[in-house]
């Protein structure tokens, strides 16, 4: 049961733990954020989670104009995971700023806005708009959503395109830090990490969902009306962790780990692999308090292991 003993062999516990992490000049009170599209606009979880206990909230992907999304069925559960093809349904940037952000700002947590668009111009338009809005700590550029026929996804098919969209968006958001969210559906994530870093990205979120499929053998139809969907949940954790580890060694900018994180120990794996922070996604669906549990769990872990600063964990993997 080595698993339960501290490695340093029971040094005295320490009083206070520094849990805050810095990402592109912005301080997050702890390294636990919620993943875009899995926590709505944050407010949906307000009675079940103390939003102020979170490092930050990455809201559902926002476009300039509202998007209706894909026809149902949109989700299907798979072994330790789920497929989704929501199709970017969102209320649009104006509605978000006027109706959601003010309420969200009442909480003591960081708001990161995930942005989507069907072509480069749409990305730039929503970026320029949000860049001037107070109460936003960073933008997360989603060029990796597999669930729309055209749009963001193809930017993540080749590093040159990823460079271009990052470069242009970077210039369209002079005020706000820009995170780029990478797709795992690539041969070598390092090429994309490097391209986005070179284009001026302030941080990378690794990763989005894996393109998957499930079939109703009786109807001989896809379980999702859209056909394919994005796979998320604990099933993908080992692949996401490997990609975070590769990306973190490839670039100097912070990497934020996403993919199958459901427990404190999952979050620790990502930090040790090199992630500066983590995002909790699918776990919030079946355990609404997962993100808060993990934020608190990380602090407990540091205390019981005499780790004075959570940043000591980042990239501490021995090889």
């Amino acid at each position: 049961m080595a698993a339960k003993k501290p490695p340093q062999g029971g040094r005295n516990q320490i009083k206070s733990v520094k849990t805050s992490v810095e990402i592109s000049g912005v301080q997050f009170k702890n390294p636990v954020l919620t993943a875009s599209g899995t926590f709505g606009y944050g407010l949906e979880f307000a009675h079940l989670v103390d939003l102020s206990s979170l490092g930050g909230i990455v809201v559902k992907g926002i476009s300039m104009k509202p998007i209706k999304g894909n026809p149902p069925p949109r989700i299907y559960e798979t072994a330790s995971g789920m497929l989704n093809a929501i199709g970017w349904q969102n209320i649009g940037a104006v509605e978000f700023i006027t109706r959601k952000l003010p309420a969200l700002r009442k909480y003591d947590t960081r708001v990161v806005v995930n942005i989507v668009g069907f072509d480069l111009e749409e990305y730039l338009e929503v970026t320029r708009f949000l860049n001037d809005c107070p109460g936003i700590s960073a933008l997360e550029l989603n060029i990796s959503c597999p669930n729309v026929k055209k749009g963001g996804f193809h930017f993540n098919k080749n590093p040159r395109d990823a460079f271009e969209v990052t470069d242009k968006t970077r210039k369209a958001s002079p005020r706000l830090p820009l995170w780029v969210k990478l797709s795992p559906n690539v041969t070598d994530i390092r090429e994309f990490a490097r391209a986005c870093a070179d284009a001026g990205a302030d941080a990378l979120s690794v990763v989005n969902t894996f393109v998957g499929m499930a079939i109703d053998t009786e109807k001989r139809r896809s379980r999702l009306r859209f056909g394919t969907g994005g796979l998320s949940g604990p099933a993908i954790k080992p692949i996401a962790l490997r990609m975070v580890w590769e990306a973190a060694r490839e670039v100097k900018i912070p990497v934020i780990g996403v993919g199958g994180i459901a427990t404190t120990s999952d979050a620790l794996e990502f930090l040790i692999a090199g992630a500066r922070a983590v995002q909790v996604g699918t776990a919030s669906f079946y355990n609404p308090a997962a993100s808060q549990d993990i934020a608190e769990g990380l602090e407990r872990y540091c205390r019981s292991h005499s780790i004075a600063d959570v940043n000591e964990l980042v990239g501490s993997l021995k090889t």
């Binding site: 926590f39 209706k68 299907y76 559960e77």
Partner: protein
């Protein structure tokens, strides 16, 4: 709405894969309104599969014998797969993680009794689970609920007694007529509508998509308001994931996607696009 680990008080096998689960949770019971549902974690550990919780209508509220205060909820579970099989296997004393009550309830305006004479409750299979609390509420509003309840075989017509105890009019149907009328539940409904539509009616339906669609069409033909309680696969049931949407029409008759967990499960049948089943 709360997320609580609560105890199974008892579980009753109703046959044909149906089970009545009695859960102890005064707070959640006290908040419940007719047509709302619960999200149950179907595995022991919160991270054990099936990962996603499963939605179940609140069939009834049971009360403290002495005080009469709400003590918990009864739910009807039909064993159709991985999650429901686990629920059906629960034993008294087992704990389950339960989120709820959730969703938009049936509309029963005060004084509805003065405006309409009969309320047609149309249930198919486990859809019956959404209708008992509604029937009680309707009686409180001095309307006359009439139950139309259909199944393939008699064994599918579970939990008739609680309705009969209310002393309301009931119409049962089975495919072969071995119990009640022969055929679809919409058969007696149609007869009833043509007879009483002018008297002022409302239709409330919960069951298979096809049945609700048929009920909707009848309601439209007879110009009667109709609410349906819809089903969809759910992720969060909090309105966050947008996974549970159905295709619907907005005021301008344009396409929109509504969340069954928020704008539903109960919706006016007129808003639903009946050509696009969500499952």
């Amino acid at each position: 709405m709360l997320d609580k680990r609560i105890k199974v008080k008892k579980i009753q096998d109703l046959g044909a894969g149906n089970h009545l689960l009695r859960l102890a949770s005064p707070k959640q019971a006290g908040l419940t309104r007719p047509g709302q549902f619960l999200m149950l974690k179907c595995a022991q550990g919160i991270n054990d599969p099936p990962l996603l919780r499963r939605p179940y209508s609140i069939f009834d509220i049971w009360r403290q014998p002495k005080t009469g205060h709400p003590a918990g909820m009864d739910i009807l579970v039909k064993n159709v797969g991985g999650g429901s099989a686990r629920l059906a296997g629960l034993k008294p004393g087992d704990a389950v993680q339960v989120l709820g009550p959730l969703g938009r309830p049936f509309e029963v305006p005060v004084g509805l009794g003065n405006r309409i004479r009969f309320a047609c409750l149309v249930g198919g299979g486990v859809g019956i689970a959404a209708l008992l609390l509604l029937a009680r509420k309707l009686l409180e509003q001095n309307t006359h609920p009439v139950l139309f309840y259909g199944g393939r075989v008699p064994d599918d017509l579970v939990l008739r007694e609680p309705f009969e105890r209310l002393g309301i009019e009931t119409h049962y149907t089975t495919e072969d007529g071995s119990m009640g009328e022969r055929g679809q539940v919409t058969l007696p409904l149609e007869g009833f509508l043509s007879r009483y539509a002018r008297a002022g009616l409302r239709v409330y339906a919960c069951g298979p998509w096809g049945m609700m669609k048929a009920a909707h069409n009848l309601a439209v033909r007879h110009e009667v308001p109709c609410e349906v309680s819809l089903e969809a696969r759910m992720g969060c049931a909090l309105g966050a994931c947008l996974g549970c949407t159905i295709r619907a029409w907005d005021e301008k008759g344009e396409e929109q996607f509504l969340r069954v967990c928020q704008e539903g499960p109960v919706m006016s049948s007129r808003t639903v696009d009946w050509e696009t089943p969500p499952i």
